[in-house]
Point group: C2
Chain length 377, copies 2
């Protein structure tokens, strides 16, 4: 019995990231997913790496985690691309946060003042200055905050690269194989059962996104308090007449959609995303698509004639304070890495590095200490 | 050589309808389509049979054709369902034309007065009366015209039934077989070439929708002046909280979309349709979907949470006066049946009956005389 085997539940970008780091460190890693790798929230994401644009007053610890996570991105990507042989479309583009109405602009100013207080490298732009940076912006845009430190990656390519790198490093991936139960005895993990077969393991990492608390066999104290938060997203095809150079981000007042327009290599424009508390309902809806299109059209009218290539909806794992849930649990051998909400792609490198370090050394790295499951106890 | 063979170019609902009538009259009929039957405009339609709701001042002849066509629907459907064994979802529902803004309601009144002048059975309703008929209507709806004589059918089921009935009657259907050329000599058709093979025929019926004028070999005088008019359409899934009883129709002022919400058997809600002059570009677009959702949401706010099941775009065959192009051409043996624009489903029975009669008797039936290709000469 391979007592040093590590099992990861969930082959989303988080599970694959951790698995890759552990497999390349020489460990015996087995990842299970009920579907194909990266088909859930990892796929529905837009690949925004935008801790500056997303900063909120109540979340300083999360901001620090995001900034450090972004700092780690270039090295993580360089290694990943070299080992997997795939590009992941990493782009240090910057983000334009824009406002249209007086309400929008007041909120923009409030956020900008806070970003400045934190010493973040941001700049206030007039509508004209914003249009000089992104000519596709509507004349209605009255002001903007330029966040040059925010970046992006192609989340789907990153999943593909992580899957390949994980397998190349000797990891084993069981897709379309739901974990039926986690076997816990005397407050210690012993393994899992999947496809009617028992797989012993001394370490189990729970990285199953919004489904993480539902895996049978989990004791109550180790059940991460995550819930699904639906995100709807569209992919458009840019044309010669309407090609964006930079990411445009619009917090439309009184709308359930934070609208961003994120241009990708190859001419795709990702338009996201709603944040809806609808339980496990992952339908695309009339209202969701309407809100996204309205907000995007208000700030970039040229999208009107662009073809819609794809529509999608996904379920993000949200926690009670919007921060991830990372590290040990009260059950020995059971580690959690979920609850990344809107920041799963951004936090993939720092999660992968930290959880791998925790498994390899037994010590909880400084970076993730504020994000333990204990804070919800 | 079967000199009495009839070839139909196009297996849309029009080509299939004509083919069925001719095959069941004992004729040797061969239909070609470049795709599968009914995959173009016939599929993207909503199956509205609504000559009253669509009436316009400049189109009295077209109105008469539509009303007579609708009169023929029940018999046509009864025979079709009995011969094919398929239901086609025919429903004599009625349509509520609704208005929100003062502009909308003035236009509604103008249209209503004209409908009354023509002696059409319509009724003016207050907003409250309209909501009594359809409780899902928004409180913003200020007035409505009730058109009880307008009906609907499931266009996709009708294609399926016509295809089956045509084949059962001994017709032959060649799908995925584009017609390469129409062979005309001494101003008389001799047959067609498809898949590199010649098919002789004394009669050829051109029913290829907006592609009808592009079939190689057509002399200029026989080329029907049709152009593609794009229509975008959505299919939603109704829920217990939001189920419509009747068709709601909203001509939103200053919008490229005539929005209608058409509830179907099985709980689908078809939401159509844009009318866009975009050439052969059949993309779904951000603007098209946005206009449909905005207009539908304004008059039936409950659609907000409904899942979007399908998005589609199709190309209608539009003529210069929006009327169909039906009957003989200057080329002997060549008959046209296209240009049905927004009324292809409604006009299927009358087109099928009339064109079959023309082929069988050589005489142009009274009903279609105003719609000959000669009017554009």
């Amino acid at each position: 019995m391979p007592s040093d085997r590590i099992i990861i539940v969930g082959a989303g970008i988080i599970g694959l990231g951790i698995g890759w780091r552990l497999a390349r460190a020489g460990r015996d890693v087995l990842i299970f997913d009920r579907d194909r790798a990266g088909r859930a929230a990892s796929r529905a994401s837009a690949g925004m790496l935008t801790p500056l644009a997303e900063v909120r007053h109540e979340e300083e610890a999360l901001l620090r985690l995001g900034l450090k996570g972004l700092e780690q991105f270039p090295d993580f990507v360089a290694e990943l691309e070299s080992e997997s042989g795939f590009s992941v479309g990493y782009r240090p583009d910057g983000v334009l946060l824009v406002g249209v109405t007086r309400d929008d602009i007041e909120y923009l100013r409030y956020r900008y003042d806070y970003q400045r207080d934190l010493g973040l490298p941001v700049a206030w732009l007039s509508g004209g200055q914003a249009r000089a940076r992104e000519p596709q912006l509507s004349p209605q845009v009255g002001a903007a905050v330029w966040c040059p430190g925010d970046h992006q990656v192609d989340n789907r390519l990153m999943v593909k690269a992580l899957r390949a790198a994980f397998l190349k490093s000797g990891g084993c991936l069981k897709e379309s194989t739901p974990v039926e139960t986690i076997d816990v005895a005397r407050n210690r993990v012993r393994g899992i059962v999947a496809g009617g077969k028992a797989y012993p393991a001394a370490t189990i990492i729970l990285a199953a996104g919004c489904w993480s608390r539902l895996i049978p066999g989990l004791p109550g104290t180790a059940r991460p308090p995550v819930r699904p938060v639906r995100g709807q997203i569209l992919r458009l095809q840019m044309t010669e007449d309407c090609t964006l150079k930079t990411i445009v981000w619009y917090n439309r007042a009184a709308s359930s959609a934070v609208a961003y327009l994120c241009p990708k290599d190859g001419g795709r424009l990702v338009l996201g995303a709603t944040s809806e508390e609808m339980g496990f309902n992952d339908s695309l809806t009339a209202g969701g698509v309407f809100e996204l299109l309205r907000a995007a059209w208000e700030v970039v009218p040229g999208i009107y004639d662009l073809p819609i290539i794809e529509t999608a909806a996904g379920l993000r794992p949200g926690s009670r304070d919007d921060g991830p849930i990372l590290g040990k649990t009260p059950v020995r051998g059971l580690i959690v890495a979920t609850g990344h909400y809107r920041k799963g792609i951004l936090l993939t490198p720092i999660t992968a590095y930290s959880i791998a370090e925790l498994v390899l050394t037994g010590k909880v790295p400084e970076d993730i200490r504020p994000f333990g499951i204990g804070r919800f106890a």
